[in-house]
Symmetry: C2
């Protein structure tokens, strides 16, 4: 495939690998065991002979392995196509990029809706609760599968950035650099509150059937769409909502009823509805809960391994992000700098709130590009 | 009844008055007609012979007529008992205070769950959509019923403040002073978004039955509780959530599941559950929609009546309120000052967010007290 900065990666496809199996089951942080773990992943660019040019991408709550390029016949590219591709900040002419779907997810990797090989039925709520460390264990399983011992960088935003932080803290030998965008090392009570209400919307949907909705042939889509609509409010800044929608009527003149009168209601309705075709309510529960519990710096000696084998960090926040505000990023920076770890921090000005890490924002992309250029010099 | 600042008003009770009826039906702003309107109300203190010492209290979204004192056998006083009572900022030794339940509400005043006398069945979604002006029409109906032509002050917070603003703009002859706390003259897209998702949670509950849940003997309590939990997040500041709950476990050690692990989850669950016993899902729809549409300054000549018959305003906001931030209050102040109306504005420092207007905060209460003292001097 030939490609340029203009046309991006072109056609890509998702692969699946079994990275844990009966001979090598996955033991989770909780001690629970998953007898078999499949991972959906994509790769872009070419791994060099020294295997030194690999980059790992961790996705956010509702992302997937399709980070860049186009699936056959698709009109929309992967979710981070503006960042990853030939000539882009994460330049696939230079880097071999691996993107995978998270453990507990629902886009090809093993999750609560997968079949438990021990029972031949979906796990549903028998799926074990997950810890941030478990996501990293599975990323490492995929790396092993691909024959990659060390990554030049591991990159992620929001929940993706939390995985990057966990990985750097517990297996710093796996990576040279870490890019952590719009993330947090510990959710606030308000963050947990939003998660909790989203989960309640799902679990109170009668079609949830105490978590056995797959077995019952049901789907708690109403609850899931409400959870998604609410979460979407937190992904955009108040300014962004105002700029995008203001008080505009959905179409023509306002004529009050309880449906979709204002443009902002139409947007949320659409987001909620579109989500149903691609996301699993159980994954939503498992992944948000892992975020609530994440608090790595509260552990004794949390930084010891990293201090012994330093990773170079780029931490970025966005000034209008009120889901994980700059204060969250600064807390991470304080911990890392307190341990004299090499850390660059930037607060990027952007009107778009939390979603900014998914957008093409000059200052942000320039910083990632510069950071990756220095990574390239090191391995050259 | 003898009373002091320490023991407050003591026992009070709610009355009901029919303020519109077949001979004098209520014509709404939309042109729709309500053939009969009952209003639940309470009064505190004594109306003087000149009928010049009356104060009207407008409640917020989920309030009621029971603003102060204790109902027989109750352990909790009315919702604004810290502000209203003998010796309190709105001093019932001096003022005759009227508090009523809003039109469209569910605590004794006519609302969507009331019986339509034309059909002998509950209105449900046949209840007409409401405008802020309709709330004021009914307050005025109650004033007429009580024989009060003019109020020394009309006072309200949040939706209550929006009613006060509407009243002052359209019937300035009814009031000398207006106290508008933590309110807005036009919701932002984000405000509407939160409203919309709350309504969707209610309307997507299968027990909503397209609004006919009373006729069906059902109650969309799951949706209503989710709406309430979400709204509660917006009533407290992020700081208040953090200070009240932090990441504390609900009881003993954290052991992850999808129920109530963190204290903040328990609080929201409790708020959601408690709401079900006292609030009606249809009222929630009607009242939030009226707020979405409120935008009085967008009308030509909105200030003309008020300029001809000025009302003295006290506008206050709370610095951590992110539901109706100080920017909302400042917009009201800009409009009023632009018309050279006598307006005092204060932003009160408080960690508690939107709910601050319900709390006993020294600076805030001192400002109300001083404003009411000046009102007393005027009528003396």
């Amino acid at each position: 495939m030939t490609s340029s900065a203009a046309d991006g990666l072109g056609v890509v496809e998702t692969h699946t690998a079994r990275v844990f199996d009966a001979a090598n089951p996955l033991v989770l942080a909780s001690g629970a065991v998953l007898p078999q773990v499949d991972v959906a992943y994509e790769t872009y660019g070419t791994l060099n002979n020294e295997r030194s040019n690999a980059i790992y991408i961790c996705h956010a709550l509702t992302g997937d392995a399709h980070a860049a390029g186009y699936h056959v016949g698709a009109t929309r590219p992967g979710w981070w196509d503006n960042l990853i591709g030939p000539g882009r900040p994460i330049d696939t002419d230079r880097w071999f990029v691996v993107a995978s779907n998270i453990l507990g997810g629902c886009q090809g990797s093993t999750g609560p809706s997968s079949i438990d090989p021990r029972t031949d039925r979906p796990y549903e709520l028998n799926f074990p609760l997950l810890d941030m460390a478990d996501f990293v264990s599975v990323h490492r399983g995929l790396a092993r599968h691909l024959g990659i011992e060390r990554f030049a960088a591991v990159v992620g935003g929001s929940l993706g950035g939390m995985q990057v932080l966990q990985w750097a803290l517990t297996h710093p030998e796996d990576l040279d650099r870490a890019v952590i965008l719009a993330a947090s090392s510990r959710l606030t009570a308000q963050n947990i509150a939003f998660s909790a209400v989203g989960r309640q919307a799902i679990m109170r949907d009668p079609d949830f059937h105490d978590g056995r909705f797959i077995s019952q042939g049901a789907f708690p889509g109403k609850g899931l769409s409400v959870a998604r609509m609410m979460a979407h409010i937190t992904y955009l800044s108040e300014e962004a909502f105002q700029e995008k929608f203001g008080r505009s009527p959905q179409e023509g003149e306002l004529s009050p009823n309880f449906g979709v009168d204002f443009a902002v209601e139409s947007y949320l309705e659409h987001q909620g509805q579109r989500f149903l075709s691609r996301f699993d309510p159980l994954s939503y529960l498992y992944l948000t809960r892992a975020m609530d519990y994440f608090d790595p710096f509260s552990r004794d000696g949390a930084l010891d391994l990293l201090v012994a084998d330093p990773v170079r960090f780029l931490i970025m926040s966005f000034d209008t992000d009120w889901r994980f505000s700059t204060a969250h990023s600064r807390r991470i920076v304080r911990h890392l700098e307190g341990a004299r770890l090499p850390t660059s921090f930037r607060e990027i000005s952007s009107p778009w709130g939390h979603d900014s890490f998914l957008l093409e924002i000059d200052d942000y992309h320039a910083s990632v590009r510069a950071f990756m250029d220095r990574a390239a010099e090191e391995i050259a």
